[in-house]
């Protein structure tokens, strides 16, 4: 599982940089999106990947079998920020093409 995620991150970074170096602003945008997904996956993987382990603290579950909730919260924050920036960049592109 870790290897699969690591390969995906590598692929995302490679594709992201490739698009970032391409011509045109849409390419830049796509490149940035791919890179930010790679960063999100890195954080997600940094908490350790577990199968069937909810990140819920109910007082009875053993901490050892729970997933680490913090990386999930961090990824959520990063996704929201990334989405906001994506919206801003799209608006910037729209404005520079409409005039």
């Amino acid at each position: 599982m870790e290897i699969l995620v690591a390969l995906t991150i590598g692929l995302l970074v490679a594709a992201g940089i490739h698009r970032l170096l391409g011509a045109g602003r849409i390419n830049l945008l796509v490149g940035l999106i791919l890179l930010s997904q790679a960063a999100n996956l890195t954080i997600f993987a940094s908490g350790g990947l577990r199968h069937d382990a909810p990140a819920l603290i109910d007082g009875t579950t053993e901490p050892a079998v729970m997933a680490d909730p913090l990386p999930q919260a961090l990824v959520l924050t990063a996704i929201v920020i990334g989405f906001g920036i994506l919206a801003f960049l799209l608006a910037l592109i729209l404005r520079s093409t409409s005039k």
Partner: protein, 499 residues
């Protein structure tokens, strides 16, 4: 007022200012509310400087959550000092910008955006957590993006894109580094990270994530070879906004470098990649000052000098002796004020002469001697002439490099200082000496003049009261290099207990 309340005031006054000014339709009312909010934040920041002067550290555990788990806001000597200086410069730049910039900027929410920029910088200085630092960076970057995208014209749009993309790439590096550090140590709190990194067994993971972090901060701080976005975008800004950007943005990157390099990764007089930072700092100093020689406009020259001066401050960090760090902090304080002031003066020159291109203005010394004086004070301070603040900053840095026996650094400090003087003389000769090349169309707006005069007075005051200010810098440096008080304030007895 308790220090905790001062932390909250410094942080949330600009946010409240942003929300209120967003709702105010009238330009003048928004201006007054914005200035009051920033002044309130500045007052709280000065209160924090006083409260932390003796090396005390005050932490605010948000929601009373204990430290490595909850969000913690920390004011130590370094962050309080930076906060006060940055709020001062923001206030001066805000007054100038809101007063002089055309209606186009006001229609696109200039006032709330500047407030949010101040909010982001305050948060970045006060946070005690790596991931929160990332979030604060995004807050201030997004406001700066929005400010920059107001600029009209094709060239400005291209510059905005350059600025946006490079900064987003740097944020992504930062985010990845934060993720890796969490994976390695299981914590993101600065104080907790330090404790965990002391006995880290794998040097490889620490060094790789440190490299990513330093790379991200180096882009934001504009260290060569990652600096060329800066002269491509800053000269496009109107000088009042240029003052804001020049004073704050690269310095927040430097602040992060100092904080992470010393407190999180710095043990036993060393931190990862110190040699690389040393080389990069020298390169930055020299490349910046040489780049300025090729420029013909005041905006361009000043933008390249930001790079060269950032090199000095990075060099102070790379030397890593207590005196060098104190010199670096003093340099930061001095530089933020001086550089913002130089941009304000550029704005005055543009208002008075219609341009700040050196081949289109001239003879301003005769037309308005006060304007010439307003330029001379920060320019000579930037070049490092006594008794202005820049002299003491350079002197302390030179002294620390000689103490360490580092003649290469000492030579670079002196040579780049002389070349800086050369650039300032070039502006002086081009804009102020000689005969006026054209009729001087405009008048200098009083609000900008007063802001610039206030900053010049602060420069003089830092120079004349060098002892006490350097004392503050030294205590800030001590708290970075030996953060026992910081660790105690965040994790120690003041830390709330888990219910």
């Amino acid at each position: 007022m308790t220090p905790q309340l001062a932390i909250l005031t410094a942080l949330f006054a600009p946010l409240a200012g942003a929300l209120v000014t967003l709702a105010l339709p009238r330009r003048r009312a928004a201006f007054v509310v914005g200035a009051v909010a920033l002044a309130l934040s500045l007052a709280a920041a000065i209160g924090l400087v006083v409260a932390t002067a003796g090396g005390a550290v005050h932490a605010l555990h948000a929601g009373n959550w204990p430290a490595p788990f909850g969000i913690v806001l920390v004011a130590d000597g370094f962050s309080a000092l930076m906060l006060a200086v940055c709020q001062l410069v923001t206030l001066a730049a805000f007054v100038s910008a809101a007063w002089t910039l055309p209606a186009r900027f006001h229609r696109r929410h200039l006032v709330p955006l500047v407030q949010l920029l101040a909010f982001g910088t305050c948060g970045a200085f006060l946070t005690g957590d790596l991931f929160n630092l990332y979030v604060w960076f995004e807050v201030l970057l997004l406001s700066s993006f929005a400010l920059m995208s107001i600029l009209p014209g094709r060239e400005a749009r291209a510059g905005t894109w350059r600025y946006v993309v490079i900064n987003l790439v740097s944020s992504l590096l930062f985010l990845t580094a934060a993720g890796l550090i969490y994976g390695k140590t299981g914590s993101l709190n600065f104080a907790d990270l330090r404790l965990r990194l002391v006995d880290a067994d794998s040097a490889f993971l620490v060094e790789s994530s440190a490299a990513l972090l330093f790379g991200a901060f180096a882009i934001k701080a504009a260290l060569v070879p990652l600096a060329f976005w800066l002269p491509a975008s800053y000269p496009l800004l109107p000088p009042a906004l240029g003052a804001l950007f020049a004073g704050l943005l690269t310095k927040v990157g430097l602040y992060a470098l100092y904080r992470v390099g010393t407190m999180v990764f710095g043990f036993d007089g060393d931190f990862p990649h110190r040699g690389v930072l040393f080389a990069v700092a020298l390169l930055t100093m020299i490349a910046g000052v040489l780049g300025a020689i090729g420029q013909s406009g005041m905006r361009g020259i000043l933008s390249f000098h930001i790079i060269s001066q950032v090199g000095y401050m990075a060099l102070a960090l790379a030397l890593f002796s207590p005196l060098a760090i104190a010199a670096g902090i003093f340099y930061l304080v001095h530089h933020i004020v001086v550089k913002a002031n130089l941009f304000l003066v550029t704005g005055l020159v543009e208002e008075r002469a219609g341009s700040s291109e050196l081949n289109r203005v001239g003879g301003l010394l005769h037309a308005s001697p006060l304007l010439a004086l307003a330029f001379a004070v920060p320019a000579l301070s930037l070049a490092g002439l006594p008794p202005l603040s820049g002299f003491f900053a350079k002197f302390a840095l030179l002294r620390s490099s000689l103490d360490l026996g580092d003649t290469l650094a000492a030579t670079a400090i002196v040579v780049v200082g002389v070349l800086t003087l050369f650039s300032m003389l070039k502006i002086w000769r081009g804009a102020f000496w000689g005969e006026p090349r054209a009729a001087l169309p405009g008048r200098t707006p009083p609000a900008v003049g007063i802001s610039s005069a206030c900053l010049a007075a602060v420069t003089l005051a830092i120079g004349l009261a060098c002892g006490p200010v350097f004392g503050l810098a030294e205590s800030a440096a001590n708290s970075l290099l030996d953060p026992a008080a910081y660790l105690d304030a965040v994790l120690g007895s003041a830390n709330p207990v888990m219910p």
